[in-house]
Symmetry: C2
Subunit: 235 residues, 2 copies
């Protein structure tokens, strides 16, 4: 985390020690700065958790973090940057969580876990996760800052690509481009649910997974899988 921009050295090697000197002289400040940024982020997370809403004000963040507006705008270009930072943190956590949950099993098992978790996180109703609405609010950011959000999705996307690649290598998939298939599964899994008309209850994660499964694997593979679920879930 510290010393992240040392590689900006371009020409002379003498720039190295100069950078290092500057680095050492400003290390304390940088650490303090990082701590302050983190305090802002933590305060924001707390408030979002408490209100179960992202409709907070910058002022609330500032009050909670025992800092000042001045500092806030010194570290963030504005509210949207704070949100983006939160979203990236949350994305890292999410990827880690999915990694963990989808560690074992064949590629389709792993993909299933990923889809279930993702869809669950994006559902407005579910409260299984602690911060359920970062993805919900990602929809907002996606409109105002599409590029940044897309970039933030990259690690998750690449992880899914890895799984789908494995599935393709194992011959589970219909012929096609794995990256495209991963992209479309990701897209489908991260839709805020609860769309369709009145009486219908929202689509569940399991339904979404069934949908994606059949979309990307041939019938015989899917049939073999669903038959297997009757028995235990060994290796």
């Amino acid at each position: 985390m510290a010393r992240a921009d040392e590689d900006e050295v371009e020409a002379g090697g003498d720039a190295v020690w100069r950078e290092r000197a500057i680095e050492r002289s400003t290390r304390g400040a940088r650490e303090r700065a990082a701590m302050r940024v983190q305090q802002f982020l933590d305060a924001a997370r707390e408030i979002i958790s408490e209100k179960d809403s992202i409709e907070f004000t910058v002022q609330e963040i500032v009050d909670r973090s025992k800092q000042s507006l001045r500092s806030f705008y010194q570290y963030f270009d504005g509210k949207h940057e704070l949100l983006l930072a939160l979203f990236e943190e949350e994305m890292a956590d999410t990827v880690a969580r999915i990694r963990e949950a989808s560690a074992d099993g064949d590629p389709l098992d792993r993909l299933e876990q990923a889809v279930l978790i993702l869809y669950d996180i994006c559902s407005p109703e579910r409260r299984s996760s602690i911060q359920p609405l970062f993805f919900e609010f990602a929809q907002l950011l996606l409109i105002s800052h599409p590029d940044e959000v897309s970039r933030a999705y990259t690690p998750l996307f690449e992880y899914l690509v890895g799984i789908v690649d494995d599935a393709a290598k194992a011959g589970f998939l219909r012929p096609g481009k794995p990256r495209r298939q991963a992209a479309i599964v990701l897209q489908a899994s991260t839709t805020t649910a609860g769309r369709s008309g009145g009486g219908t209850h929202p689509i569940t994660g399991e339904e979404m997974w069934e949908f994606c499964l059949h979309a990307i694997v041939p019938d015989d593979v899917a049939a073999a899988r669903s038959k297997r679920t009757s028995r235990s879930k060994s290796t």
Copy 2:
């Protein structure tokens, strides 16, 4: 459109003429009110078209419509109600458009047209339609006013259910509940695209359709369809 609430008559039949009398006496005012509302809506649509953005102010609407703020808040509970009204109008247009485009062909052809149009409308990039961003902004409304938006989706949903029902009757679909399948196809088709990481270009409507197709129909049906596309598109 006029005389929509006559059916509130409950007890005596004599309420009919009274209602009718009141109706006639207030018809003029009601027509004027309807016209004013429509002027607001038209102005909003114009401005949204021009700016290609839904970031307009109430004041702009008022100026354009040659009316006053006072009137605006007399007819709408706030900006969100205007947006909701616009969205419902747009939804009606969209359903009509999809109805037209998906009139002919077997149920899967019709569903394909519906998905392509829907996905196209929801894509931020496409400019094929005149008002491309009502669905984009529906995502926003979906978070702040989920119930109303869900209700607004109902006619579209029911139309899709009709198509999917036909497909089920024709034996094209995997066994399952048509309403659920329609709901999930709708949900997938109305996601704002452009999610996945950096270099990847967004999912196209055709890709989305292929995805949905395989998700709901068995392989042999899909194979028969894709073979058929080589030839012409007769009945």
